[in-house]
Symmetry: C2
Subunit: 247 residues, 2 copies
C-alpha cells in the first residue's frame, strides 16, 4: 500500500486534508478514488491507515481509520557521512541508505574527493537529495524521512556529539580485520546514536584516518572484499539491521 | 592495486603472458610500465602478485613474484535468482551482488515480471551481464567471477539441487517475521550451497510462494522495511557475510 508523509498531527477518526505533492501523487498519479485507502505518517512519526472521504480539485479529505503499530525504524539512530563522490553516487547512497534504515546523511569534502560542491549549489543539491529521501522513505515504508546535510570539513564532522563514531577503512579489511564492526555493534543499545564515515572513490588518506582515530573514531573493516564508495554504507546499515533487528 | 582474471595456470616465478582485454586495460588504460605490479587470478582461483617483465604491441610478460593468501570469498556459495525486472536493475544486481560476494546469478521470468527476455536476445544479455561481473569481480578483488545464467521458469528453478533454498518474501517482513533468516544462516556450514530467490518489482505472487514452500523453499523476511527488487539481494548477501565472515 502507498505511504505518504504529512507534516500534520493525525488522530484516529479526525479528518485531515492532503494537498500539494501528496495530493498530486495520490489522486493524479495513483488515481485513487473515494473510499480507497493509503498509509499516512503524522508529524510525530505515528503511522495511520487512512480512507479517502472526498476528493476536490486540489485537496482530498482523509479519515484515519486505524493506527499501524508495526515498527519499521532501526533501534539505532545511524548517521551516514560520506566524502563527496563523482556522478550520481550521492543520490544512490541516499536512496538505498534510506531503504536500509539510515536516519541522517552528511556529505563532506575529504582529501581524495575529486568533486566539490560549490557554495552556491549546496542548497540545491541538498534539496534534490532530500526529495530522493522522501521518495525512498515512502517506498520503503519508513516512519522517518532521513535528514540530509552538508559539512564543510572533516574537522567540523569530528565535533559530532553522539556516542559511537566509526570510520570504514579499506586497509582494515585488507589486513583481515573482521571483528571490530561486530564488536562495536554488540555494544550499541536502543536509541544510541552512531556516526559512520565513508571515504569517496579513492578512500580516506592515512593522515585522515590518523586524525579520526586520534579523535576517538573506531576504524572498522567491512568484510574481506573491496566495496565501492556507494556500496560500503549499505553493508554497514545491513550489519546493524542484522544484529539488532533479526534475532 | 589492480586485479585481473586470467584463464591460465599460474606458478611462482614462471613467466606468463597477458593479451586481449587484460593487456588493453593494464597497458593502455592504466598505462602500466615495466617493473610495475598488479594482481592476477589463476584459472584455479589462486591469486598472485605479478611484476611486468616486458611489454610488446599486443601482450605483456608477467613474472609471478608472490602468492596472496588473503581469503576474499564467502565460505558459503550463494546463488542469487531474480525475477526479471525493468530497466537496469539486473545490471545493478550483478554489479553490487558481485561486490557483496555472490557466486552465481540466475535470471528468470516470474508471474509479475513486466519485461521478458526474448529468446533471440538472451545470449547477448547474459554476455553483457557477464562482462559487468568481470569488472565488479576485479574491482572488489574477488577470486571468482560469478556465473550468469537464464532459467526459463520457476518450475525449472525448483529443480536446483543444493541444500538451502530460500525465498525472500515481503509479506514475511510485513508480518514481523524477523528470525527465519538468521535461523537458516546459523545452520549453514563452509562450502554449503544456497539458492536465494527474489521477486521482480511487484514481488512474487502468493501462488508462486505456495509452490515454492511446497517444494521445500524457506520463506524469509529481510527486516522490517520494504526493499526494492535490486536492494533485497544485497541485504541477503550482507547478512550471510556478517554472520559467517565478521566474527
Amino acid at each position: 500500500m502507498q505511504r505518504y508523509f504529512t507534516d500534520q498531527p493525525i488522530q484516529l477518526q479526525e479528518v485531515f486534508s492532503v494537498t500539494g505533492d501528496t495530493f498530486h501523487h495520490l489522486v493524479r498519479v495513483m488515481r485513487a478514488k473515494e473510499n480507497e485507502q493509503a498509509e499516512f505518517v503524522a508529524a510525530n512519526h505515528q503511522v495511520f491507515l487512512g480512507k479517502i472521504k472526498s476528493i476536490d480539485e486540489k485537496s482530498a479529505e482523509i479519515l484515519p481509520v486505524k493506527q499501524l503499530e508495526h515498527a519499521v525504524e532501526m533501534p539505532i539512530e545511524v548517521t551516514i557521512a560520506c566524502g563527496l563522490s563523482k556522478g550520481e553516487k550521492s543520490e544512490k547512497i541516499v536512496q538505498k541508505g534510506t531503504e536500509m534504515g539510515a536516519r541522517h546523511f552528511i556529505f563532506l569534502p575529504t582529501e581524495f574527493s575529486v568533486v566539490k560542491w560549490p557554495a552556491a549549489k549546496i542548497a540545491r543539491k541538498i534539496d534534490r537529495l532530500q526529495k530522493i529521501a522522501v521518495g525512498a522513505a515512502e517506498q520503503s515504508h519508513r516512519a522517518y524521512i532521513p535528514t540530509i546535510s552538508y559539512c564543510g570539513s572533516l574537522r567540523e564532522l569530528m565535533q559530532w556529539p553522539g556516542k559511537f563514531k566509526i570510520v570504514a577503512y579499506e586497509e582494515s579489511a585488507k589486513q583481515g580485520e573482521h571483528t571490530q564492526l561486530h564488536h562495536q555493534i554488540a555494544q550499541m543499545q536502543a536509541n544510541d546514536e552512531v556516526l559512520a564515515l565513508f571515504g569517496p572513490e579513492g578512500g580516506l588518506s592515512t593522515q585522515e584516518i590518523k586524525k579520526l582515530t586520534d579523535a576517538a573514531f573506531i576504524s572498522v573493516g567491512l568484510g574481506p572484499r573491496i566495496l565501492r564508495a556507494e556500496t560500503a554504507p549499505l553493508y554497514f546499515l545491513t550489519a546493524i539491521s542484522v544484529f539488532t533487528e533479526m534475532r
